[in-house]
């Protein structure tokens, strides 16, 4: 089959590989009908996530038809049309039973690597480095889905692939980021980063009743899409973000701040170069500009919600602001399985059509082009690929 594989920094290639087979009794094999490139895949593309190996099959946002199931798969049936959650979760451990699916204690065979780096291991994740299990991903024609009864959600026929594909990751991720803000009537929510997760965070914050949502980015197309979603756009290259936010909230600061940027933040001038230099010299692994700014701008007693991906260490963390302002920091890989069904219902009710975020439709063969476009950010917000064209 065809699969998009990682071969190094800025180097992905669609190659012919073996078809996946059932390896564990709770596995299913899915014939993929739609697959996407996630913003977090760009961290892999840029070579800043450790424990990648040449030949790893990428992709953790995919859906398709079940073509084979293992002997212990009970709910999922051959022929089901399913969308697959990006974390691999067993459904039996303490974390899974408390719906903390991205902390599944049994799905990461390489938990020891993550424990060395993070203290504790997250769940296994499709196509996202060996630290999270080294599982083959879904930018391919077929994928093996471990614990299919927990991770694969059956979708009704009435909805197109493009309307349900993002239940795999970015919609639940944006939604959980907004839910973590504990939004009350009258709240202002500021969102750093208007990539796909930022876009869903903006719309989710609106769905959850935010009075005002502020969208911070520098790419005009992204700010435009954010504005269409009901946000107030702030271009951080044109204006000072802190001043703009205080202006928009009459001095209070946003009630909650969402960092939908993560470890590769772009920052103006000196600070940007400072972090880039430190990252280059391996003095810090992540560039936390958006996180610093979110902590400094958030109102006293507010919430900072972090869906953006960090993998290592940062420098100049504003601990003084965090402590003196009594901030609450909420974060985590998304417990996707917790949100898929309720969000599917919102899609069915017509409250949101997630396909709004798609700007590029490509063939799987064009994956290298897709990564390049997405990475340049130039009018490219979300790439969806068809593995069979």
């Amino acid at each position: 089959m065809k699969a998009n594989c990682w071969y190094g920094k800025k180097k992905v290639e669609v190659v012919e590989v073996a078809e996946p087979r059932i390896l564990n009794r709770h596995d299913a094999i899915v014939r993929i009908t739609a697959t996407a490139i996630c913003g977090s895949d760009l961290h892999l593309y840029d070579g800043v996530v450790p424990t990648m190996e040449r030949g790893d099959i990428l992709g953790h946002e995919f859906m398709g038809e079940v073509v084979e199931v293992g002997p212990e798969v009970k709910k999922t049936k051959v022929g089901d049309r399913v969308v697959v959650a990006f974390p691999i979760s067993c459904g039996h451990c303490f974390s899974c039973q408390h719906e903390a699916f991205s902390h599944c204690e049994n799905s990461n065979p390489n938990a020891w690597i993550a424990e060395k780096m993070l203290g504790h291991s997250p769940a296994g994740i499709f196509g996202y480095s060996h630290m999270t299990g080294g599982f083959a991903g879904g930018q391919a024609q077929y994928a093996r889905v471990p614990f299919a009864d927990v991770g694969a959600l059956k979708v009704p026929d009435g909805l197109r692939d493009e309307q349900v594909l993002f239940l795999s990751d970015i919609f639940p991720t944006g939604y959980m980021a907004a839910e973590n803000c504990n939004i009350r009537p009258g709240d202002t929510v500021a969102v750093w980063g208007c990539g796909p997760v930022g876009q869903f965070a903006i719309r989710s914050a609106k769905l959850l009743g935010a009075e005002q949502v502020v969208a911070i980015d520098r790419v005009p197309a992204r700010l435009k899409m954010a504005k269409q979603g009901g946000a107030e756009p702030v271009n951080f290259e044109d204006s000072d973000v802190y001043d703009a936010l205080l202006d928009l909230t009459a001095g209070r600061g946003p009630d909650s701040c969402i960092d939908a940027v993560g470890m590769e933040a772009h920052a103006p001038m000196m600070i940007g170069w400072y972090d880039r230099l430190k990252q280059l010299l391996m003095l810090e692994s992540d560039r936390p500009f958006a996180l610093r700014q979110a902590i400094l701008a958030c109102r006293n007693g507010g919430i900072v919600s972090v869906p953006g991906v960090y993998t290592g260490w940062i420098d100049k963390f504003p601990a003084g602001a965090m402590m003196n302002k009594a901030l609450t920091i909420k974060t985590g890989q998304t417990h996707a399985q917790r949100y898929m069904r309720p969000l599917l219902e919102r899609v069915q009710k017509g409250q949101i059509d997630p396909s709004f975020v798609i700007t590029h439709r490509l063939r799987l063969d064009e994956a290298p082009k897709g990564y390049e476009l997405f990475s340049r950010q130039d009018g490219c917000i979300k790439v969806v690929m068809d593995p069979w064209k």
């Binding site: 594989c5 451990c93 799905s107 296994g124 299990g133 083959a136």
Partner: protein, 342 residues
């Protein structure tokens, strides 16, 4: 959670040849500390007097070192009729350091190995010196013989020091099943090879006895017989190897109800004398078999079996390279496959 200690055995088997050759002398030995169940790691240093003791080697080193530092020119002239003062002083300083290290009584094995390394260096220097035309062949040969003898003593002492060590590991894990279920699973000895990576088979040979086959470092097959020493249903299982087994080890596993009934806490404690002592452990570590980590992985597999009934793997999946699982990172998944294959 993870602990592992390597400690010295209280008693050390050492029969100094010179002493046993002489008239039977009542050797004063310190009382052997009782073998306690080690909750805390501890190190016991035996005090043995005699020409081959560590202290003896320490004083020997200091003597040599002092000679090298005080009379570098004389020694150098005696050997090669040349003044290699600086070299001799360096050698002397090294000897002095080894001697002080040995007398400190800490990290004895390391200091003994430092002496072995020093001997090797001296032999090389003597080899080089013998090429010199000015050297006295007789004196070089005599010195080489003395150094070689010292090297032999050093190697023997270091190896004995290593062999007296035992490994103590302790690990625990919380599983989302009842203590009863965890106990029953462990008590069925046939289940043990399913989660203990290096155990190939366990065969009950009686109500309290069993025969174990394991894979050691570099795939070497090791077998032994073990007996249950204590058993409390749903609470505790303790075992040890029978006398005469090639491996001496003992261990216990305890099962407790986690607070607020959050499943079962499984605590395992094991102690064993690895073949070749800490050299064996070091070799195992280099091959990725660090004892505490290995037990941790074993318990993780136990948890997976108890909670999901299987061990998740990536061995056999597709990738854009010859092997689906990564040789560099996916060692755990590769070993799981060998578990599944059995």
């Amino acid at each position: 959670m993870a602990t592992e200690t390597i400690e010295l055995k209280p008693e050390r088997r050492r029969e100094p040849a010179l002493e046993s050759a002489g008239p039977a002398v009542q050797r004063r030995q310190p009382p052997t500390p009782p073998r306690q169940r080690n909750r805390e790691p501890r190190t016991v240093r035996p005090q043995i007097a005699g020409p081959l003791s560590d202290a003896g080697l320490g004083w020997f080193s200091i003597g040599l070192g002092a000679a090298g530092l005080l009379f570098p020119r004389a020694i150098s002239r005696w050997l090669v009729r040349r003044d290699h003062r600086r070299l001799l002083r360096a050698v002397g300083a090294r000897e002095l350091a080894s001697g002080i290290g040995l007398l400190s009584g800490r990290q004895t094995a390391a200091w003994l190995w430092s002496r072995v390394a020093g001997d090797a260096m001296d032999l090389l220097l003597l080899g080089a010196a013998s090429q010199s035309r000015r050297a006295s062949a007789g004196r070089i040969a005599a010195t080489t013989a003395v150094v070689a003898a010292a090297a032999a003593v050093d190697v023997m002492s270091a190896v004995q020091e290593e062999a007296g060590r035992r490994v103590h590991v302790r690990q625990s894990i919380t599983t989302n099943v009842s203590p009863e279920a965890a106990y029953d699973f462990w008590r069925d000895l046939a289940n043990i090879p399913r989660f203990m990576r290096h155990i190939r088979s366990v065969t009950p040979t009686g109500p309290r006895h069993s025969h174990w086959v394991a894979t050691g470092v570099a795939g070497i097959r090791i077998e032994w017989d073990a007996e249950l020493t204590e058993e409390q249903p749903n609470r505790l299982i303790a075992w040890r190897t029978l006398p005469g087994a090639r491996i001496r080890s003992s261990g216990r596993v305890e099962f407790e109800r986690a607070p607020d009934d959050r499943g079962a806490v499984v605590r395992v404690e094991m102690e064993y004398e690895p073949p070749l002592g800490s050299l064996g452990v070091t070799a195992a570590r280099l091959l990725g078999r660090e004892p505490a980590q290995q037990l941790h992985e074993d318990l993780r597999r136990l948890k997976q079996l108890l909670e999901t009934g299987e061990i998740i793997t990536t061995q056999g999946q597709p990738a854009g390279r010859p092997s689906g699982a990564s040789w560099k990172y996916d060692s755990a998944a590769r070993d799981d496959q060998t578990v599944a294959d059995r």
